[in-house]
């Protein structure tokens, strides 16, 4: 008779201990993203923020390079590529510059603490119909070594990882 309340308490504790992480997991888990076999990268837009053309081009080219390097997509299309019209499940990456601070390589080398270059970009992934499927703000920066354009490489790596984790067919989610 004594054993019944003890067993019940133990069972209750075990159940609650099991249920709590599951509930937390359910809250933290992102909504399931649609897998895509192809991605199209559009040219970086910087209508509100003045950004030198070399940075725009460098971000665009680095993005394409990193997406190809990460794998997971059968095709990585550029803006305007006619072949993207026939792709069945395509996600389109729109990038809009929200903040840009051009630092100084010389200041970084000399002082170590100043001269940081940083880029803030709003990334929006849409489906073929233009419906948004994922939006995220990412940044790229160069703090110590390297030229200013290295910030574009930093951003491209983060954006490619985001795309890979959410949309690539072989991603672990």
């Amino acid at each position: 008779m004594k054993h019944i309340p003890y067993s019940a308490t133990l069972a209750f504790l075990l159940l609650s201990a099991h249920a709590a992480p599951a509930r937390l997991h359910a809250q933290a888990a992102p909504p399931p993203a649609k897998k895509a076999s192809a991605i199209q990268v559009l040219m970086i837009q910087s209508d509100e923020i003045k950004m030198p053309a070399e940075f725009q081009i460098s971000i665009y080219e680095n993005l394409i390079q990193q997406l190809e390097k990460q794998g997971g997509f059968q095709h990585v299309y550029r803006e305007g590529d006619h072949n993207a019209d026939g792709a069945a499940d395509l996600v389109v990456l729109h990038s809009n510059v929200r903040g840009f601070k051009k630092g100084s390589e010389m200041a970084r080398n000399v002082t170590t603490v100043s001269g940081k270059t940083s880029i803030d970009i709003h990334c929006q992934f849409t489906d073929r119909d233009g419906k948004s499927v994922l939006e995220r703000d990412l940044n790229g920066k160069v703090q110590f070594f390297g030229g200013n354009l290295r910030a574009t490489f930093d951003f491209a790596k983060k954006a490619a990882k985001l795309a890979h984790d959410n949309f690539a067919a072989n991603s672990v989610s």
């Binding site: 665009y60 299309y77 550029r78 590529d81 051009k102 010389m106 080398n109």
Partner: protein, 177 residues
């Protein structure tokens, strides 16, 4: 002991300066259309140096063992900007960061001004590409003029009297850090 270390550091710095001063003088004399492709051309590694020419209606970049051609009519935008870069770059530049008594930081102060030429073009499938080149100061504007004269388009028109990089429109100018 301290004096000896200081003398050694001074000799090290003077040696490096002397070593790099001669090639830079020679480089300016034989510059021509020598450029560095930062990124963008298909099949060319980043930071590859080579020759940029306009031949038979196409923009040609020739590096060691690689030749890439872009038809000028497919060039949608040409933009020139100014920038500066370290005189001591690459592996050697990285090694100078370990020089004693802040010697690397001191050497970082030596910078050379350069022109940047950025182009946007379409491939045969309509895909948009961009390429960035750096070249000696004052060359980019002239190159842009030639490109535009042969059919390339630009979002920032050239001024007729622009002989130097200083006479560019404000939109094209890059703010100095």
């Amino acid at each position: 002991m301290v004096m000896r270390s200081m003398r050694r550091t001074t000799i090290f710095l003077v040696g490096i300066l002397g070593f790099t001063a001669l090639p830079s003088v020679g480089q300016q004399a034989a510059a021509g259309n020598k450029v560095v492709q930062i990124t963008g051309l298909v099949g060319v590694r980043t930071n590859a140096s080579g020759n940029l020419t306009l031949e038979n209606g196409s923009l040609q970049f020739a590096s060691s063992g690689t030749k890439v051609s872009v038809p000028i009519h497919s060039v949608e935008d040409v933009i020139t900007e100014n920038d500066s870069q370290r005189v001591f770059r690459g592996t050697f530049g990285t090694l100078t960061m370990f020089a004693p008594y802040g010697g690397g930081r001191f050497l970082s102060l030596f910078r050379s001004k350069i022109d940047t030429l950025t182009i946007q073009y379409r491939d045969t499938d309509g895909g948009l590409h961009g390429a960035i080149f750096t070249m000696p100061l004052g060359k980019a504007d002239r190159f842009k003029k030639d490109l535009v004269a042969q059919g390339a388009r630009t979002s920032i028109p050239m001024q007729d009297d622009s002989g130097s990089s200083n006479s560019k429109p404000d939109a094209a100018k890059e703010k100095k850090p």
